[in-house]
Amino acid sequence: MSEGKRARIFITCLVDFLFPSVGRAMVKVLRHYGVELEFPSGQTCCGQPAFNAGFQGQAREVALHFLDVFEDSEAVVSPSGSCVAMVKEYYPGLFSEDEELKSRFDKLASRTWEFSQYLTEVLGVSDFPGSSSESLTWHDCCHSLRGLGIEEGPRKLLHSLEGADLRELEDSRECCGFGGLFSVKFDEISSQMLKNKLACIEKSGADCLVATDCSCLMHMAGGLEKTGSGIRTRHLAEVLAGALDEKAAGLQQEPAP
């Protein structure tokens, strides 16, 4: 199904700076499906920090650079719902006064995918060939859920893992309180929202919290660390890449028929 598919990966500043293992895991999973990957090294950021703070001129400059780097891609895939939502939802609107540019951004938007979306909607994966020995719980990141409509896809992938133990997360659609600069501009409100989220995570009884966005994961992981919780956090790509590894290790241990 994925024969001959090519994609350029956008590794987001946060993944590049703090969580490169998420990028590596995404590469591993996509390559497992035979997708030929390119990493344009001229990539920087999607411009969301400026855009969300109201600096639209600056966001436009960064968006133009993004267009420059990714325009002629067959597909752009990124392990972040919020950065992808920036490209798909907000880039075209930033150039609404320039028809030619807007149509180029529209085209770019139609070819840009969040990792789990690409996996389930473009590659058509519903059964993931791997296993997991941890109990997992799923948080719906706001921009993935409400911006991109990602809800069932990742759950199906996790459910399909051999030995999957996916626990319900109460209020999984509720924001963790991150919101970019909101988390430091209004840190008390952000922390209250985080506190509510952490209580639900603890209640789930899972070993590991899984989501599609490193920013939200960083926020919740930071909270779990402060409260001394033993619950781990992992990006969906890491769980899937790990599942491939577990499967491979399992196969090696099995006696030859």
């Binding site: 411009g47 109201g54 309180g177 919101g179 409100i189 209250q192």
Partner: protein, 474 residues
């Protein structure tokens, strides 16, 4: 009403310390959310209906001037009188002179946020009139000398004990009265006031232009009282409340009731098209509609923000907002709290007096998801943030960092250099626990959240080692 929206940070910080308030909000929001959820689940075509409602309101607002003219013509043809007021002062004066022209002295009011906007009660009381709020929640906060903290549940921040204490103090009831008893006490007091009032003041949920009808939605019956018993009925109405056709209401009322309280329909819905006719036994002798602009035309003239006028004031965006749910309505410092408040307050009172409100959102998007008329609230908050930056309200540090950010963002070499330098510095800060010493954003982050340690090998160097054919430019 006095604007304190520029103090959002302080007010919200105080509210967060109030454990009772947080519990009350959590309880109220959970029950509002459940009720709405059940009501929505019972309508399989909910999304299609939202889209229809969105289109109805869009059209209504687009044709606002014509719709207002038609309404005026129709209600006036049956003896109603219509006034247009540019601001709160004009509306207050108009209402007072109407009351004086009828020698009115006692006013009963039905719940109305727009009267809060113009601080009508204070003005009328200062002019020597007696004013009584007829809605139970409004009555409670009137006794307490406060303002509503929620669009449809004004006293949501008050506990039963506080209300019992308040009624004991003002009405001499049992200080330990339970809720049914408190309701009876209020009912007795209010009923007498309704019977003796000569002026009834209401807001309006909708006004219909093709029929010249004022539409009022409620559960307690106080609006029916205020608009039926007194000699004169004055409706103060925001100009955005007009819808062109009566049949539009079939949809809008369904969405309003379900989104607000989860009810299929409220206990009372009043359609008022004229004063008492000779054939009728009840009703006022005269009806006035006072239309208030107060910033709405300004909002109307702004294409990116005009959709905020589509709001039908159901309060669902508050009930689902995690920020409102943490800090409560009073933190927003003016009449309208929550996401819709953060959008319209800057337009109504001036962005310089409410610049914090559009910032105070994680942009999680739940408000837009539940809005029955599909107002894109997060996009409008983003639009307001951009306006604030254009108006020069961002601090020098933020302006400078955004410049540096965009410079780096379009120069790959500088970007890589900055990341390469930044990583060891950040590592040192995170390892040595310097965040709290350094202050600023890192410190604010670190109060409740640990700092992640960067992993050993960055993605770029891993990719370089992993593959040589990867780079397509550079």
């Amino acid at each position: 009403m006095k604007v304190r929206s520029d103090q959002f940070s302080r007010l919200s910080s105080e509210a967060l310390q109030d454990e009772f308030l947080r519990e009350a909000l959590a309880r109220a929001n959970a029950s509002f959310q459940d009720a709405r959820g059940d009501a929505v689940d019972s309508m399989p075509d909910w999304e299609a209906l939202r889209q229809q409602a969105h289109e109805i309101k869009n059209r209504a607002i687009e044709n606002l001037p014509e719709a207002l003219d038609a309404f005026e013509k129709n209600i006036c043809s049956r003896g109603g009188e219509v006034h247009y007021c540019e601001d709160g002062a004009a509306a207050r004066d108009t209402i007072l002179s109407i009351i004086r022209s009828h020698d009115g002295s006692s006013v009963t009011k039905s719940k109305s946020m727009v009267t809060e906007e113009i601080a009508l009660n204070d003005h009328l009381e200062a002019a020597g009139l007696s004013v009584l709020e007829g809605d139970l929640g409004e009555y409670i906060i009137q006794l307490a000398g406060e303002h509503p903290s929620h669009i449809i549940a004004p006293a949501i921040h008050k506990s039963r004990e506080e209300v019992a204490e308040l009624f004991h103090e003002h009405l001499g009831s049992d200080p330990k009265a339970d809720i049914p008893e408190l309701t009876r006490v209020a009912q007795r007091t209010l009923r007498e006031a309704f019977l003796g009032a000569d002026i009834g003041i209401s807001g309006a949920n909708f006004v219909v232009s093709e029929t010249g009808t004022i539409v009022l939605v409620e559960n307690e019956g106080n609006i029916r009282m205020s608009t039926t018993i007194p000699r004169v009925h004055i409706a103060l109405v925001g100009i955005e409340k007009v819808v062109p056709r009566l049949e539009d209401l079939a949809l809008l009322l369904r969405l309003l009731c379900r989104s607000a309280t989860g009810q299929r329909v409220t206990s009372y819905i009043s359609f008022i098209s004229s004063a008492r006719t000779p054939a009728e036994g009840d009703g006022p002798e005269k009806i006035y509609v006072v239309f208030l602009d107060a910033g709405r035309s300004r909002l109307w003239a702004d294409p990116g923000q005009r959709a905020a006028l589509n709001c039908i004031r159901c309060g669902a965006c508050l009930n689902f907002c995690p920020v409102y749910g943490s800090v409560g309505g009073h933190s927003y410092g003016w009449v309208y709290p929550g996401p819709i408040g953060s959008v319209i307050t800057p337009h109504f009172v001036g962005i310089e007096k409410a610049s914090q409100l559009p910032q105070a959102s994680s942009l999680c998007g739940r408000c837009a998801e539940v809005c029955p008329v599909k107002i894109p609230l997060p996009d409008m908050l983003l639009g307001l943030r951009a306006k604030a930056v254009e108006a020069g309200s961002a601090g020098i540090v933020e302006r400078f960092s955004m410049r540096v950010f965009s410079l780096l963002g379009r120069s790959p070499r500088l970007w890589r250099f900055a990341l390469a330098c930044g990583r060891p510095v950040y590592k040192l800060v995170a390892r040595a626990g310097l965040a709290s010493v350094l202050g600023g954003p890192l410190r604010r982050w670190n109060r409740s959240r640990g700092l992640p340690l960067p992993q050993k090998q960055g993605f770029r160097s891993w990719w370089r080692a992993e593959t040589k054919k990867g780079d397509v430019d550079d």
